[in-house]
Symmetry: C2
Subunit: 406 residues, 2 copies
DNA sequence: CGATATTGTACGCAGAACGAACAATATCGC
DNA sequence: GCGATATTGTTCGTTCTGCGTACAATATCG
């Protein structure tokens, strides 16, 4: 039950039903392909004539294509329909603290090439570097299809409307007009998005087909910081000032360790990779000190995970403590939002069999309802490149999204 | 950008544009009345002919009515349109731990009568008592209009679909089919809802007209428990198992005081009325002990607030500590969801001038962004009867809601 | 080889948006 | 006082499009 916003509603016109049904067909084909026209008519409870007309429109726009006629037990054999994704290309970009990742993929997020280079933190220089690499990449794969846009994922708050990065502490960016800069440099449309939200979008649009993706879920990313992409009622939560999902800074223990944000006892101060590392090193977390120490020791979170698996007690205990605190944080999410699923991304996903029981234990101890305590927690390894897949979705999804109405 | 759910979509038919535009007109009149047909045509960017046709339909259904023709500086004088709410009645019911409140109101939530009686915790007996009182109430006000339904608000988790109260700890209810029982006993349609969500709905539909109600806000209720009604993208968050909004049980301090839920250091264990009272009494919070103690002493939270305002130091400090912890909890909400506003309901709203600075201080200390730290926190006194207004909305709002589509 | 089943297309009807013309009702300039 | 102008609300013909029916195409089965 939604209230109509009387200041910015979208009224219906004569072509509204057509737009809606066209989009439904497109999505049905996308998720249940191959489908014949008759299949669509049955699923939509509509005449086959109507389907013919709408499918012709989609075929004309080359949004879908007709495959081979297929065998049937009786009667005329149907011609199957498929969405056209293979030759519609997207550039996905994932800017991270140390490295920037670049991917050329199709509309389904299947990668054609991937590149990686050291992040240039100056925005103008980064745009130049990106534009040159993108030009090269597209030139090398001209035959694969036409590139329809660029999806740029940054570790920070973004404003979709203006295309600006509002604040990205890891890169030292504040109010940078990245979308227009990159768009001007490449001549391609650019979409920008915050990393955890991009991961959530990737799950929403590219998550396991067949099984149904719920309309309420949360994607928690644990890396240098801790963030969340929240999906409620099938839509992403951006917040009124684009800062929703800063999940790392909910309080866990008000007189806990000092957090890099300046506050105290934030979830992030217990469970971020930096927190785990400083716990392992027996060192207090601090903005300058910890990074310096890590740079000197050359130690990464993957090392600690490896040592833990190899049986080193100190590493094991550092990881386990992180898991316990993460479980407490997830319990808070479950009590507050009751999502159908929680995805956990980041390096900790590679040690899942070790940490999962501890996370679950903390959840069971703190979640009010038994249904909530059983919420599936699903790890997503970095090898799936969720951020880059999310970047691709930024460009591809608007084609398939429901029309905004009323 | 919403993804279409390919399993339960709603396809458009020939009458879909009409349904949508009809509903937009209804809402425009509701929120900006009085409006003429020509006003509507301008606001909707549509021909006046179309408006005539749609308005005739609404007039036929008696959803709106035509008022007097009004003066204009030039030309033909317009006939103004108004929504019909005065003679469409609703029974609102608010079941609480000790008392149950009953209200007969119109579709705008304006009360005609209010009653109050001691809560009967046995569901069957309560239904009998309610049915008898409702029958009497409607008989006494037959001339005021027709009653179109009952809105029932309970302190616990509810399932809209089946009309069952899943769990209401204060009443000791578990899986009780309240909707059907009350509907059978009264012959009226019944809607049930959880208390904080009902308060949020009341704000959404009946909040200050003129000023625009944001599409993202949170209503936090602080009474015996602490709960939240969350509104995101203009829709209420119910959660995948109907348990969203249990905000009282997010962790504040993992080795804090024991909470009645069995866990430790929940927000509720710091800021509920029971927590404040036991802090004032210098007593530890416990499920049986605290209630017993309060029953013996006869002390209520309003007493403590009164003593605090009168200058009693121990009361002042108990209230102030509650305010500080509440601020930390609200900071967590702001970091996680970034709502445009937060409403705070419950007895603490009556001491707002005392607690507001402390709440704000805690928020400023813990919220990441300056925009977030400035989030308006708005108290709503119990005298506004938010739960009962929410109950009325449960029945009235579906008439005005946007049609579900795609 | 006709009966039956199924897919996809063609076509006529009807519902509704759209736009233009028109009737109703007022003020203003002269 | 009267025509020019402005504004509101209605009517009506056009056009788009959903919807149902009929039909063509294509296959299997008895």
């Amino acid at each position: 039950m939604r209230k109509i916003d009387t200041r910015r509603f979208v009224r219906a016109t004569r072509s509204t039903p057509r737009d809606i049904n066209r989009q439904i067909i497109l999505n049905l084909v996308r998720e249940h392909q191959p489908l014949s026209r008759a299949d669509l008519a049955r699923r939509m409870d509509i005449g086959r004539g109507m389907i013919t007309s709408l499918v012709d429109e989609l075929l004309g726009e080359e949004a879908i294509y007709e495959g081979a006629t297929v065998d049937a037990p009786r009667g005329r054999k149907p011609k199957m329909l498929y969405v056209r994704t293979r030759d519609r290309l997207v550039i996905g970009i994932d800017v991270r603290f140390s490295s920037t990742y670049l991917m050329l993929s199709d509309f389904s997020g299947n990668p054609l090439v991937m590149e990686q280079f050291d992040t240039v933190t100056d925005p103008a220089e980064l745009v130049t570097e990106l534009a040159s690499r993108i030009g090269q990449m597209l030139a090398n794969h001209q035959s694969a299809g036409r590139c329809e846009g660029i999806g740029l994922v940054v570790p920070g708050m973004t404003d979709q409307r203006t295309g600006r990065v509002l604040f990205a502490p890891q890169l030292g960016w504040r109010d940078v007009a990245m979308r227009d800069a990159l768009s001007d440099a490449t001549g391609l449309p650019v979409q920008i998005e915050n990393a955890p939200i991009a991961c959530a979008l990737a799950q929403m649009w590219l998550g396991q087909r067949g099984a149904d993706m719920p309309t309420d879920f949360v994607y928690v990313t644990v890396s240098d910081g801790v963030g969340a992409g929240i999906v409620v009622n099938g839509e992403v939560v951006r917040g009124s000032a684009y800062s929703a999902g800063e999940f790392g800074h909910i309080p866990l223990s008000i007189d806990g360790p000092r957090c890099l944000c300046g506050s105290q006892g934030c979830l992030e101060a217990f469970t971020s990779n930096l927190a785990t590392l400083s716990r392992y090193l027996g060192h207090e977390l601090s903005a300058t000190g910890t990074r310096k120490l890590l740079l000197e020791s050359g130690l990464t979170i993957m090392d600690v995970i490896a040592r833990s698996r190899a049986g080193e007690e100190r590493a094991r205990s550092a990881i386990h403590e992180t898991a316990r605190y993460l479980g407490i944080g997830l319990a808070g999410i479950i009590n507050a939002l009751n999502p159908a699923r929680i995805f956990v991304g980041g390096e900790i996903a590679t040690a899942w069999s070790d940490v999962e029981p501890l996370i679950r234990e903390a959840i069971v101890a703190r979640v009010l309802t038994s249904a909530g305590a059983a919420t599936p927690i699903i790890p997503e390894p970095a090898s799936d490149h969720p951020r880059l897949r999310g970047a691709a979705v930024l460009v591809a999804a608007p084609t398939f999204a429901a029309p905004r109405l009323a």
